[in-house]
């Protein structure tokens, strides 16, 4: 059975791009358009990998990532961040949330800044999923 990969991004064009790359490489893509619906889908579908945007309505990737990594049942799900937000900003935001009393959380497996080439995305997915 092919591995399930959830794409969480509010931009329909980016979702289409990622879904196409996933299908062409034999994965089963799933889609969510914001952090809140993404979390519901993660709980329901238990994907093998999440490709996560940062700046989204309702719940950002910063908070969703934090929720994943602090939930016992979800913390081992692998995450690739794919965003226009710089990696250093993402890491600083997580540091700030830790300083405000949140838990210390690990860095994401891979952080890609948009835009990416299809081959680059396919390669990192293969690398992360083994």
């Amino acid at each position: 059975m092919s591995k399930k990969v959830l794409v969480v991004d509010d931009d329909a064009d980016v979702r289409l791009f990622s879904v196409t790359v996933l299908e062409e490489n034999g994965y089963t893509p799933l889609e969510a358009e914001d952090g809140e619906s993404g979390l519901k889908m993660i709980k329901a579908e238990k994907p093998d990998l999440i490709i996560l945007d940062v700046l989204m309505p309702r719940q950002s990737g910063v908070r969703l990532y934090r929720e994943l990594k602090t939930a016992k049942a979800l913390k081992d799900v692998k995450v690739i961040i794919l965003s226009g937000i710089a990696k250093k900003t993402f890491l600083r935001s997580q540091k700030a949330l830790t300083e405000f009393g949140g838990a210390q959380i690990p860095e994401p497996e891979i952080y890609l800044e948009k835009p990416v080439e299809p081959d680059e995305l396919a390669d990192v997915i293969k690398k992360v999923l083994g």
């Binding site: 940062v54 700046l55 989204m56 309505p57 309702r58 710089a86 900003t89 600083r92 935001s93 700030a96």
Partner: protein
Amino acid sequence: MKIKKLLFVTKFEELGFDALRSLLSLRKSALEHVVFVNVIERDRVAMRRGKGYQKDEEIRLREAANIRFIDWAENLFEQGMEVGVYIVVGSLVPEVIQASRKEDADLIVIGRSHKGVLEHLYSGSDVTELLRRAYTPVLVYKQLSETAISVEEPFERPLLAIDWSPGSLRAVEYIKAIKDTVQEVHLVHVADERALKGPSAMAIQKTRKEARDKLDEICESFEAAGIKAREHVYIGDPDEEIEKAAKDCQATMIVLGSSAKAAWVEKFLGSTPRKIAEDSIYPTLLIAPEKADE
């Protein structure tokens, strides 16, 4: 009634990051989430004869807004805040209302309307339309305008205009909920000019005294909540007197209750909240009564 989440609606030309920065003092109260909204008006990308739908223009406008929002969002994320974004094609007011509902926002921040006189006459302003339809409080910010005062912290010294309407009484509770951000509140009631035509000086003084006593009660409730409060009674035209009171008190913002009057009623009878929201040099916070529908 705390302000945990605000919707920052901008077309960029009228409201920039400086305006948002000035609102971050609300973090002392409860603010933790900012949602950016940019609505690309449909007619900017609409079908044109021989051209069809201008998809390229839509992409260009979306990306221009996205790049700006990413820059602003990075600043907020690094402070540990939560940030969201909506860039949509449509009509401003329905899209803002929809985003506000989806996000369950506590405050909508919007710039002064840029419609021309004729557009105002026929369709009313975006701000008027938003005030009429939104249950969520609306802050009309006057940042990048020739006729606006520069305010570092708008919520520091609000002038609350009280007319005993449900909206203005709800505003009292709204301000109490952000007490950690407010330094001092000035309450003003503008009595009708007709009160001056009473049968005697005693009758006029009585009107003033009654209004003061009622304001005193509200001041006491503010003091009990830990906010310094002062009351004032002005007499005359509310639109003018509220503006004068704001100047006299060195207020940083005007707060008013608003009502969900129909647009045509406003057009013919006028509305103090709308006029102040549109014309005042001060940022204006309008609070609808609890049961208004979105």
